[in-house]
Amino acid sequence: MFTYAPAPESRSVVDIAPSYGLFIDGKFVPASGAGGVFKTVNPATEEVLAEVAAAGTEDVDLAVAAARRAFGPWSALPGAERAKYLFRIARIIQERSRELAVLESLDNGKPIKESRDVDLPLVAAHFFYYAGWADKLQYAGFGTTPLGVAAQVIPWNFPLLMLAWKIAPALAAGNTVVLKPAETTPLSALFFAEICQQADLPPGVVNIITGAGETGRTLVEHPDVNKVAFTGSTEVGRQIAQSVAGTGKRLTLELGGKAANIVFDDAPIDQAVEGIVNGIFFNQGHVCCAGSRLLLQESFAEEFLDSLKRRMATLRVGDPLDKNTDVGAINSAAQLERIRSLTQAGSEEGAERWSPPCELPAQGFWFAPTIFTGVTQAHRIAREEIFGPVLSVLTFRTPDEAVEKANNTPYGLSAGIWSDKGSLILAMADKLRAGVIWANTFNKFDPTSPFGGYKESGYGREGGRHGLEAYLA
């Protein structure tokens, strides 16, 4: 096997300040101090990137008040004018996408080729898409009245993309927002705040407050918030649903998943292997819709696993800024710990563990791509979301058995079907209880396509025409 010379992307395109305040009412302001400060680190090196303020109750009040003041004028603007602001933002993101991609890889640990070729193009496309809706709301079929102030809390796996999913439709519909990025990945949201300034977006329309769970709780529980949108764990989503109950606030939740990727024996093996690898090792498996359960038709399971292992042995794990890297760093020590404990449970419960030989850097948070075979439906690694580069392999004999096993989960976010037979794909798609179903591909996203889950994966849809519904009355 040949080796690759290092091909690191330059980080000189990004200028990270040593410390950041909050972005409230169009300005960067120091936090009240009640929430303290925290450090955000590069998970690949554990180097501190910046010190960030944690917003306290007083700061959250200020941000919500700013959003409330901005709501009247912003919602009164003609849709065509709101559209032009969003088009501007989309254009600036396109122009600054290299810088933002490097920043995202530094703060999150994802490979530069993903942040550059997937995250950033999708972020810009999302703003373009919803910009076009701002003056066409009457064609979307969900009314044209915005809700008011939206409180939005996003996860760390796709920091800027999740921000786009939240902010673009909210603004297009005429709402104003207070958004809290995840505590391990606050930087790209703060850079986005600067983009709002660059676009001359009216003050208060977008407010970014940083912090951890407590800040998020204060924000979603704020009495002057009309809408709560959350992407993250099912556990936190449940708490939010609890606190929002009875308040009249509108709520959308995009939570966990345990997607089945189902491969029939007539699927082209090499393409399916690529898709399985992309399904679970893309973004280190930090993907709520990751294909974390591989369901293989028994008749060709061994042959398929040989191919899969051969392919996994060529995955390059390491420096996220290296353009050849396939799998980057695990986002945080806490997440690494969770992956370790769940995989240990997998071994203890009797599944067979395999990883390709792979040298991991000494510094930072790393986990080698791993598969478990001989997994049963009772195993924790088949039931719980690992949110890491870990694939659990099960087998099936008939399409009915595949459907039963695929649906045997509290989640219902996504699924994949691999087969040469179109009628089988359509029949399977009909029976799978998942919000997004990919056929002969996986992890493909587009702003025009609605995304969201069944059951414990949450409710509401983001993206597409349907994504407007959550922000209109």
Binding site: A80, K136, T448
Partner: protein
Amino acid sequence: MPKSPAKVVPTTAAPSRLAVRKTYKLFIGGAFPRSESGRTYLVDGDNVALASRKDARDAVVAARKAQAKWAGATAYNRGQVLYRVAEMVEARRDEFVALGVPAAEVAAAVDRWVWYAGWSDKIAQVHGSANPVAGPFFNISAPEPTGVVGVVAPASFLGLVSVIAPAIVTGNTVVVLAAAPQAAVTLAEILATSDVPGGVVNILTGHAAETAPWLASHDDVNALDLTGVTDPALATDLERPRPAISSGCCARRPANRTSRPTPACTP
């Protein structure tokens, strides 16, 4: 078309300097040829190419050649291209004002490009559907471009933009008979530098009454937009289906008069 008070380009130099005048030519297949007929006519002191029926046919050939690839581009890509046109018109607002187009109308034209840019990836979501048929079939409907559209444009600049943008955003290509030649050719120069592939928009200057019948009777024109026809008799004549050519087996589908889609009226 409001006449320009002076056909001076806004960026004039010192008074002693003799201005370089622009030659107004046709826009076919991404190039700026003169009329093959060699004819010109005088508009505000400018000699403007007077398109012939052969120019119209050349333009249809160019439009047809460009159509499949343009329709095959992603909706996102077509939206980006239209938005780029908006950016370029915005940058050259003064030029249109100098040609006598009111500033407010130029601004409205920019916004109209933006409006249609946004439709590129939404038209199928609004006008397409998944049809719940009562049988074991998978049934969806999606709007598709009709192909090459012959357009008789209204005299105003906003009118010109309002007939071109909706036709091309969905993947059609157009042959436009423009009424106000200088503004139309200036728009063509913008289109030529806005990533619009050659042949997607073709603009002919001259007399619509002379060239429109050739477009209307052309076998390779799929639809007609007669928004700019002011003579009712000509409109009726253009709308009338042409007789089938020779053997009865393949009577040509009459070119459709297309009214502007609803979105055009909204902003």
